[in-house]
Symmetry: C2
Subunit: 203 residues, 2 copies
Amino acid sequence: MKLHEAATTPNCRRVRIFLAEKGIEVPVVPVDVGKAENRQDAFREKNPMGRVPVLELDDGTFIAESVAICRYFEQLQPEPALMGGGDPVKAARIEMWQRRMELEITVPIMQVFRNTHPYFADRIQQYPDYGESQRSHATKRLEWLDHELAGREFVAGDEYSIADITAQIGIDFGRVTKFRVTEETPNLLRWHQAVSARPSAKA
Amino acid sequence: MKLHEAATTPNCRRVRIFLAEKGIEVPVVPVDVGKAENRQDAFREKNPMGRVPVLELDDGTFIAESVAICRYFEQLQPEPALMGGGDPVKAARIEMWQRRMELEITVPIMQVFRNTHPYFADRIQQYPDYGESQRSHATKRLEWLDHELAGREFVAGDEYSIADITAQIGIDFGRVTKFRVTEETPNLLRWHQAVSARPSAKA
């Protein structure tokens, strides 16, 4: 088994944190996204979307999509449960929060980067107005998340889960487009300091 | 248990098709999204995101996010497995394809609607150029999906899964913004006719 990935991308970090929390080590094959190695034919045979991370199993099966890779390891090694294990309500609640974090915070923050950051200026067609609208959207959702975190320790409840990881990788990636967690959102700040202090945050 | 939902929205249809395939009946509470009932305070107590569908359990727990609702029923009643059941590779493969269908096809098609359709003109700030870019993106991905479907019966493999449902609801919702499945993509057409012929398609 090996993990094709790039150190700098948030989706790869999601898998690294997830594996660190599970205590699983997987050999890594670095992919040079700066040189667009992921867009070349050899890589597209692993993932036609041309994106990292991709997990390669020993029988040659490729699993792309960071959350799908996490799902694989959750089923392979259920403990510690990060996606709810066998409890239907817990699994659904974590999936609800994982999706809220992804669709309302992490994806909008990535859209700010794609549509406004100079890194992508020569790489893709950017839509700066749309990018700025996503900044506003993510900012409002972070304020809402702060409000939610007043009542509990972690995003999906009293236990740490993949929903925390998804929020963490999005918020941290937001640094390059000037998202900051400050004392204006004290509950979010407390949560962010807590997840950042976990050993997995360095993964 | 009851399902708060609206007949016209694709995410509600995803849950209805999923339940029909499972043979599960859940009492429905209609939400009038045309009159923005979902944006009012009473509804936001069920889902602060102001979106349908929302599943209400008998103990008062609310589960929002269509895929999270599907996950709940998959664990509650595993057969027929639509999300891979207990097989780690199968569950991961289906989640990979479910996400590809959602993030590459269904979400872009919804973005075309949000950003270009007159329905939203007075409701939200639209970004028509971005919307058109998403039309182009979804169109290319549908061509790629056609290519993929040359080699197998369903989106994630030889068995029907939630990945088919997610593609189906996105593509069918695309009718209002002039997406059509034609003989130019013969494998996609064959697949679309097959899923449309299933009794669940009427759900």
